[in-house]
């Protein structure tokens, strides 16, 4: 499998020398793009699941409502259902708690 990094190594190896600054630059270029590529791959792989429609909003007195389906957590916020994966659950809960200190309309 060819990548910018393996091509740089192949170029240096074909001449039997250590990596030069040209090949190093290749890696810097790769790393510069990689963060965006990884974010894109993550977004495409882990598409947010559908949370219930707004019509199913919980009763007025409920400040915070959440349920878990197949590893995904849907959380009610004053404006919409949010979703969060298990790892992000704590952060989301905190955010929602802060938000829900305002009275729901």
């Amino acid at each position: 499998m060819k990548t910018p990094l393996t091509e740089a190594v192949a170029a240096a190896d074909s001449q039997g020398r250590f990596l030069s600054s040209t090949e190093m630059q290749t890696a810097f270029g790769r790393y510069k793009q990689a963060a965006a590529s990884l974010a894109a791959a993550k977004a495409l792989t882990h598409t947010p699941p559908q949370c219930p429609a707004l019509t199913t909003r919980p009763p007025r007195r409920v400040r915070l409502s959440a349920f878990v389906t197949s590893g995904t957590t849907c959380v009610w916020s004053p404006t919409a259902w949010l979703w969060a994966e298990q790892a992000q659950w704590t952060t989301t809960l905190l955010l929602v708690s802060l938000k829900s200190t305002r009275p729901l309309t």
Binding site: G16, L19, E23, A35, A41
Partner: protein
């Protein structure tokens, strides 16, 4: 030849799966710490000849039978072959650090090396000692805190050490 990205992709492809979150996060961490990796490669590359020369000197001081008449590094030609081999191993280790994966080191350097040494009558155990001496020298150079921003480099240091250990154990 694979790099860290291609390795993850080919593993996932072999199982017919998407990349999972932890794999993507690990690659993200590698990208975020890319400067450490490049500094490591740069430092070892810049000091390659001194790493090799000092390791060889120390090896021959420890095992003088190698350079005694009849020894495996006796005569300049065989000494040169020894130094050349150590430099080649070091070069492939820098490639592996650069790519973030050991496949280039395995495929192009270590594969069949033990058999070659056996056929040539080269003492693999001595080569392994030489490699571990290069490891100590390289880690000292990589871990030098002078001239860089202070930070935690334990992960990259451990990775560098693992490539040297891999090379040493494959010829021993």
């Amino acid at each position: 030849m694979l790099d860290a990205f291609a390795k993850v992709v080919s593993q996932a492809d072999a199982r017919g799966e998407y990349l999972n979150v932890s794999q993507l996060d690990a690659l993200g961490a590698m990208v975020a710490e890319g400067n450490k990796r490049m500094d490591t490669v740069n430092r070892i590359t810049a000091n390659a000849s001194s790493i090799v020369a000092n390791a060889a000197r120390s090896l021959f001081a420890e095992q003088p039978q190698l350079i005694a008449p009849g020894g495996n590094a006796y005569t300049s030609r065989r000494m040169a072959a020894c130094l050349r081999d150590m430099e080649i191993i070091l070069r492939y280790i820098t490639y592996a650090i650069f790519a973030g994966d050991a496949s280039v080191l395995d495929d192009r350097c270590l594969n069949g090396l033990r058999e070659t040494y056996l056929a040539l009558g080269t003492p693999g155990a001595s080569v392994a000692v030489g490699v571990s001496k290069m490891k100590d020298a390289a880690l000292a150079i990589v871990g030098d805190r002078a001239g860089i921003t202070a930070g935690d480099c334990s992960a990259i240091m451990a990775e560098v050490a693992s490539y040297f250990d891999r090379a040493a154990s494959s010829v021993a």
